[in-house]
Structures are given as C-alpha cells and as structure tokens.
C-alpha cells in the first residue's frame, strides 16, 4: 500500500542499524510500502536508493542508524542531547520486526496500564494495577509530553535490586518516534532515556529500532541490551495479536479509560496531522 501522507513522506525515517549494515554490506527493506536498498561501500560511504536502483534517496547517519526519506525532508531528524553525554552508554537494543502498525507500537510504549499484566514481576505486578493520574500536554514544538507518571516497579532497570517507585516522562516527537525518560536508581535527579525509531514497513508491519541512553554508573552494557529485549519480547506477541492491526483514529472506535489520556491525545494529534498510514482514519460524523 502506498503512502499519501506528506508529513511521513517528507520526513526522515530509520531504515537500518549501521553496525548491522556494515557487517552485511547491503540490505533491502521497505519504507512506507516502498522497497529500498541500503548499501555500504568499501569506504564506509552509505547510500540509499529505490530497490530498482533508479533513484537515489536522501541519506544520513545519525545515532548509529541510517536515515532516509522518500520525499523532500522539510525538517531535521530529532535532536537528542542525551546521546551526546559522555557518561551514558549509547547503544541499540537490537532492531525487531513486528507484524502490527508502528502506531500501535507507539501507543503500547505510552501505556503504563499493561505493566502489571504483560511485564508482571518486572515493570509492575498484580494487584498494583492502578495508573495514577498524570499530566499531558501538547508543546509549542508540537510534541506530546506526558509527565508526573509514577509507577511502582519490582525490577525497574537492568540492575535494579528490589522494587522502586519510578517516575516516567513520555515524549512523542513524530508520528513514528517516541521516547521515555525514566528514574535512574542512583541519580534521582537524572533519567535514563529510551527512544524508539519505528520504521513503517507497511501499514500493518514495522521494524522497531531503538536507542538506549543509560547512565553508565552502576550499569553494565550487556545487561542493558538483555533487559530491553526481555521487556520488548514480552510486548511483541501482545502487539501482534491486536485487532485491528492498524490504529483506529475514530474516538468511538475503541473505548479509552482515564489511564489512556496520553493515547487519546496521540490519536487526536495523528488526526489533526492527517496521518493515515498505519491508521484507520476517523469517519466524518
């Protein structure tokens, strides 16, 4: 299915993890239903073309990933100050294909309500299932921010020992890019940072690339990747069993609860920006 959403066509998207690309030399993948070829030359120069080789696409390397666009990008890729802080690990937790719309993945990432059920014993536990009220706003930069999100977590991080009360902040930068800031157990005033760069492969299929920016102190690199994969692989079968696979934008399509405040704004924001790829657009009343 082709994409007609200018906001997505004229934006940057991740299509490959640079380390993986350099090992393989080249790969083919899909972006918004269009097959693209990503190649790394002997000199390390990376290029992205349409798979038939007829057209060169814009390309840049950032945060260890290859970014491209099917149109004319009107804005830069997002800026992440945490990725430039020397006392953080900056690593990919691995890119994972998921058979569901990337918009569903964003929404799941924003949802604290599933912690005690899907991540039982790690990010939550029964019977502590209530999501306390939190704040949501649309910023001047046209991003969605959710703050004052508190949750008690038995094993909140790769090195957590015992349960702690964790504070989250969520941030939706672009329709397919979402991040969270999460209490670091050693530095109450600083937060670990996780961002998902979701590659919309098709309307019901995506690859979830991610960058993990964890404060090094008290943390070991392999544990970070292990924890990310442990958690993500718990989400994956749930995501792949969501029906419909695309995200319905009609406010009456799925019944939200108070804990879904940020998801409600996300869906409205997608509607306001006419994002239909990976979505089921709202019908006019």
């Amino acid at each position: 299915m082709t994409c007609n959403d200018r906001i997505l066509i004229d934006d940057w998207h991740v299509v490959a993890d640079l380390d993986q690309l350099l090992q393989a030399g080249s790969c083919k993948t899909y972006l918004l239903g269009v097959e693209v070829a990503v190649t790394a030359g002997r000199d390390g120069q990376v290029a992205v073309t349409l798979a038939d080789g007829k057209q060169q696409l814009p390309c840049q390397i950032k945060y260890g990933f290859v970014w491209t666009s099917l149109g004319s990008p009107e804005r830069e890729t997002i800026h992440i100050p945490e990725a430039f802080e020397d006392d953080r690990y900056i690593i990919s937790g691995g890119s994972f294909p998921v058979k569901v719309s990337g918009l569903r993945v964003v929404e799941n990432f924003l949802d604290m309500g599933h912690f005690p059920f899907v991540h039982n014993g790690w990010l939550g536990e029964e019977p502590h299932t209530e999501v306390a009220p939190y704040e949501v706003e649309l910023t001047e930069d046209n991003e969605i921010i959710a703050t004052e999100c508190y949750f008690h977590q038995p094993v909140a991080s790769p090195t957590a020992e015992g349960g702690i009360e964790v504070e989250y902040k969520y941030r939706v930068y672009r329709p397919y890019i979402v991040a969270l800031y999460k209490t670091n157990p050693l530095y109450p005033d600083r937060k670990d940072y996780i961002v998902l760069f979701i590659q919309p492969v098709g309307p019901e299929e995506c690859v979830v690339h991610n960058m993990l920016c964890y404060i090094k102190e008290g943390m070991k690199e392999p544990d970070i990747r292990w924890f990310m994969q442990l958690i993500f692989a718990q989400d994956k079968p749930i995501l792949e069993n969501q029906i419909p696979r695309r995200l319905p934008l009609d406010p009456r399509a799925e019944t939200p609860i108070r804990a879904d405040k940020v998801a409600i704004l996300y869906r409205r924001w997608l509607r306001d920006h006419s994002v239909s790829y990976g979505a089921i657009p709202a019908t006019e009343a």
Binding site: W226, A233, K236
Partner: protein
C-alpha cells in the same frame, strides 16, 4: 557454580532454565549477545563451542553444548528422583531419545521460521520451515491425543513429565512468532497448559503463564 551461557530469547537456553528451575538447581547465567551482537559467532565464544551455538554449560570444568545433551546430563546428575530421565528404564530411555531428536526437528523448522520473522534471518526458506513445523506438530498432536485417551498426560508414559516434554515445549510455544498458528492442535494446547502447571515452571519472554485459577488449583494439589 554451574554456569549457563545464556540468551533470553533463545528457546534452547530456555529448556535448560526450565529444567534447572524444576529441579531447584542454582546456576549463574552468563549473558551472550546473540542478537544483534552475534557474540556466539565470535572467536572467543568458538573457543567454548566451536559450532558457535547456544546453549553451553560449564559445570565445574565440564563444558557441554547442545540443549538436548545438556538436558540428559543435568537430569541424570541433579534429579535424585530419576523421574525426568529414568536412567534405569531402557523402554523409557528409548522413547525419550526419540522425542529429543523430534525436538531437534522442531528447532530446525519452527525455530528457523521464528529467526526469519523476528531476527532478520533472511536466508531461511520460511515457507518450507513453516510447512515442516506443521508436519511435526500434527504428529505430536496425534500422539498426545492418543496418549490422553490412554490416561497419559505427558509425551512419554508414566505419571511424571520427562525431559522430552521440556525439549519440545519452547519452540512450540514460540511458533506464532514464526507465523505458525497452533489453532489446529488442541491436544498440544492441553498438554502445554498442563506443562505450565508443573511446580517450578518459569516463563521466558513470549511465553505466558497459565491463568491464576489454574495456578491456584495446582497449589491445592501440590
């Protein structure tokens, strides 16, 4: 202490975590960055296992590879009841070995399809892998159906599960990640529900526990 070279998302590593948990044996996991780091193919890891595969254990200097072989070893060494691997019963040993080999077939098909769909193993012929998994699942489903008819809960005869059940369980449970639905295998579903109620059962990412009601009833029996 027993060391397990381990990867969270590996069903073959999960087999050993399951048995060690059932037996209550303490061990230490050494995490190997299978994906995306490909650490199991590194020269350093090939010193431990020249095949470049997980899992491997190191038990006080004895280094063993291959999930099925390690199940045999661990059950023989650490299960005083001899129920998981009844080493004095030739009929049982023959049947267990038969199903351990069958489990390797599940790895070669259902696990291969999962690697293709979930971890970018693009060189795998996924349609052939899925078809092969369905052939094996059909065989096991029929076997379990007739076993149930004979009053038998597990893959091999007797009132106690064996390492054959452990060897078959993980990649069956993860099959949907490789595009292999299990809706046509009701006897497999009933067997896997029973398996999840074995005291000491643990999950891995992608495998869900039995419902709470079921857990309570198993407690009542235990």
């Amino acid at each position: 202490m027993l060391k397990l070279y381990d990867y969270e998302l590996s069903g073959n590593c999960y087999k050993l975590r399951l048995l060690l948990s059932f037996l209550g044996v303490e061990y230490k996991s050494e995490l190997i960055d299978f994906y995306p780091g490909n650490q199991h193919k590194s020269p350093e890891f090939r010193q431990i296992n020249p095949l470049g595969q997980l899992p491997v254990i190191d038990d006080n200097g004895l280094v063993l590879r291959d999930a099925q072989a390690i199940l045999v070893y661990l059950a023989s060494k650490y299960d005083p009841s001899c129920k998981w691997y009844p080493r004095d019963n030739p009929e049982m040993l023959g049947q267990i070995s038969q199903w351990l080999a069958f489990a390797d077939g599940i790895t070669g098909t259902a696990s291969a399809a999962r690697l293709h769909d979930a971890l970018f193993y693009n060189h795998i012929d996924v349609e052939a892998a899925r078809a092969g998994a369905h052939r094996l699942f059909r065989v096991l489903d029929e076997h379990l159906f007739f076993a149930e008819e004979a009053g038998q809960d597990w893959i091999c005869p007797g009132d106690h599960p064996t390492i054959a059940d452990i060897a078959c369980f993980p990649y069956i449970m993860l099959s949907e990640e490789g595009g292999i639905p299990r809706i046509d295998y009701p006897a497999i579903r009933r067997w896997s529900d029973r398996f999840k109620r074995i005291p000491g059962f643990t999950v891995m990412s992608g495998v869900f526990p039995a419902g709470p009601a079921a857990k309570d009833s198993s407690k009542a029996v235990a």
